[in-house]
Every structure is written in structure tokens, then in C-alpha cells.
Symmetry: C2
Subunit: 194 residues, 2 copies
DNA sequence: ACCTGAACACCGTTCAAGT
DNA sequence: ACCTGAACACCGTTCAAGT
């Protein structure tokens, strides 16, 4: 397809992996074109062949967070699938605490985020919600889970022992479970408000 | 108290106000020591007399967000006070969309954040929760409200018309109201899980 | 096609000097 | 006490040049 020229010494994937490692160990501020280049043994200008600029680099990094975990097995009951999704996302936040907060500041309409969103919507529809109801529930649910994971990863709860925060999350899971149950069972009068 | 020397041309408050205006109109990236100085008609080095460095400047700015709204009147019923708090915070997010996301990434233990937190805890205790229960409920509630406000301010919902997002928030308010009601009324069996 | 060298406009921050 | 000028080490990014 393409005339070959000189063989590439680094790939776009190398650039992304090096940037991710720097972000994880040194924080977002340490992700610098020069730092990434140094780690790859190359000059900063070489990066621009594989990445259009720094904003593009960060975009790719943040999007990649959403492909780091597998979607829950489709044969699990819907409530377990939702729980699994929430826990996976929380683990990603712990693994990449400096990048993760950016996830809450991006449009929820990229291909990668759609993949996760559709999995959640499918589970919610299987629970008995209509399509529009499911999409609304997914927006609120993802906001809650991302908000908690960002808070935790960024250290907003740093004054509390981990066991307390763990129990906070358990609490959140139970409350969400109850709310969804109430939505699904028709005999509960509250469902009509949605 | 202090030997007077030369009269000051700018104050710390001038620096903060100028920085806030720049952040609101040009985004976080536009907040630069040189940009702030230019707006004040002074050289960048003059700022360091009133602010220890740029991190300190941003800290002060973010903390200031929490003093921009009045706490709800103490004679209102507890549920209206919580609702008022949530709406005030959401308005702050709209006013300062580029600074607001930083709020979710900071320890919730500064004097300014304590002021808001204590108001929420007081309302929750008045609702009938014990002290520890109230603090946990406040952590979760603030996470949910901040998460929603950040999402909104940062444009995560930009693909949906404002009316849909408005109804999302109304939905959130109702669900929270129902959960708190369930917690408070002893005859509901769910309360024991908390 | 891929990488480098040199260059540019910008950062934050310091230090000694002026008033 | 407050501000400035000059300076330093660092940014992101471009462009022409090498292989």
C-alpha cells in the first residue's frame, strides 16, 4: 500500500504506553512531550509523527481507560452485570488515579464510552426499564459511579481509613440496588415518578 | 504593626479576582501568571508578593467557590435545606465551569468545605440520622451532587438538550428524597442496612 | 517514511536591584 | 514593603533538513 522508506523506531502504541506509565508514576503534570520522548530514547519532535499534538495524546490515553476492562459476561443476571461494571471502573480509577478524573470531563459519546454505556443500558432494559428510562438511569448511574471513583482516586476521602470508604461504596451499591428494584417491581408506587 | 514602605498597587484579592475572570472566560489553561499580571497592569513577578506560587493561587480560587453561595436559612425544613444546597452548588458549577471540576479532586477537609459539609450533616441529623450515619450520607450525597455538577459543567452531557439534563437532575432529587425518607421512617425495613 | 537540529513563543520562578 | 529587569530551566510546536 505505502512506499516503505525508513523503518519506524517507535509506534503510536509505544507513545501511548510510555505516556501512561509516566502519568501513573509521576502524575498528569509529568506527562510532557520531552519526558515521553526521553523514555523512548528519541527526540520530542519524533512524537509528532505518531500523535497530532499533546491534546490528542491525552485524549487517546483517557479513551483507552475504557477498554482496559472486559465487559461482564452476558449470561449473568442484570444486577450482577451492573455491579461488575461499577467495580471494574473503580479498579481502573485506582490503577490510573491521575488520568481517571478526565473521564468525567469528556463527552460520553466516543466509541469506547458507548461500548460501556450500551452494556449498562442492555442490563437496565433486561431489568424491565424502557429504552428512554434505561438511558436516563445509565446517565445517573455512570455519574454516581464515576463521581465516587474520581473522589477516591484523587484523594478527596484521604482523611478517612480505607475500610470506611469501602463501606461507603457498599452502601451506595445497596441503595442503588433498592432503587432499581423499586423501579422494576410494578406494585411499588414510586415507579410512576420516573 | 508593620513599617509601611511603598503603597501596594495590587492586593491578593485583586490577583484572585483577575485569575477567576480569566478562568471563567478563557478556561483553566488561560490562567497564567503572565495573563493575570497583564490584566492587572503589572509584571508577572509582582504576583509573587501576594501569592506563594501558582498552585497556591489555584487552591485559593477553588476554595473560594465554596464561599460563593449562602447556606440555606436555618429555619427551613431539613429536606428543603438539602435541596437548596444542591442547587446552589450546581449554580456555582455553571458560573465557573473550568474551575469547578477541581473541587472533586481535593480533600473535603478545608475550612470552606467543612462549612458546607457541616450544614448538610446538621440537616441529615435533624432528619433523624445518627452522627456517623449523617457523615456517611453526606459523603455519598456530596459525591453524587458534585459528580453531576462536574459532568454538566465540563460538557459530558453536551449531546443531550438541556431540558433532558434538567429532568435528569429532577429525577436524582426525587430518588434521593425517597431514599432519605426510607432511612428516616423506622417502619421501612430497608433502614437496617445502613 | 521517519527522525533530528535549530528555532520560536511561551511557561513558572529566582534573585538582585530599584523606590 | 512592593515592584521591576534580567535571567534560568523548561514547555509545545514548526520547519527544513537528513537518511
Amino acid at each position: 500500500m505505502s512506499g516503505m522508506g525508513r523503518p519506524a523506531r517507535i509506534s503510536r502504541d509505544d507513545v501511548l504506553r510510555a505516556s501512561m506509565a509516566i502519568a501513573d508514576s509521576g502524575g498528569l503534570g509529568a506527562v510532557t512531550m520531552q519526558a515521553v520522548a526521553r523514555r523512548l530514547g528519541v527526540t520530542p519532535m519524533a512524537l509528532y509523527r505518531h500523535v497530532t499534538n499533546k491534546a490528542d495524546l491525552l485524549d487517546a490515553l483517557v479513551e483507552g481507560l475504557l477498554t482496559e476492562f472486559p465487559l461482564p459476561a452476558a449470561d449473568l443476571p442484570w444486577d450482577e452485570r451492573l455491579r461488575g461494571l461499577g467495580r471494574s471502573i473503580r479498579e481502573v480509577a485506582r490503577r490510573h488515579p491521575s488520568l481517571f478524573p478526565l473521564l468525567l470531563q469528556r463527552p460520553a459519546a466516543t466509541p469506547e464510552s458507548r461500548r460501556v454505556r450500551d452494556a449498562a443500558c442492555a442490563a437496565l432494559e433486561e431489568a424491565g426499564l424502557g429504552a428512554a428510562q434505561a438511558r436516563r438511569a445509565e446517565r445517573l448511574l455512570s455519574t454516581v459511579v464515576l463521581g465516587f471513583a474520581v473522589s477516591e482516586a484523587a484523594g478527596r476521602f484521604r482523611d478517612h481509613p480505607p475500610s470506611v470508604i469501602e463501606e461507603d461504596f457498599g452502601c451506595l451499591e445497596r441503595v442503588i440496588g433498592q432503587v432499581l428494584e423499586g423501579l422494576v417491581r410494578p406494585q411499588e408506587r414510586r415507579a410512576e415518578h420516573w
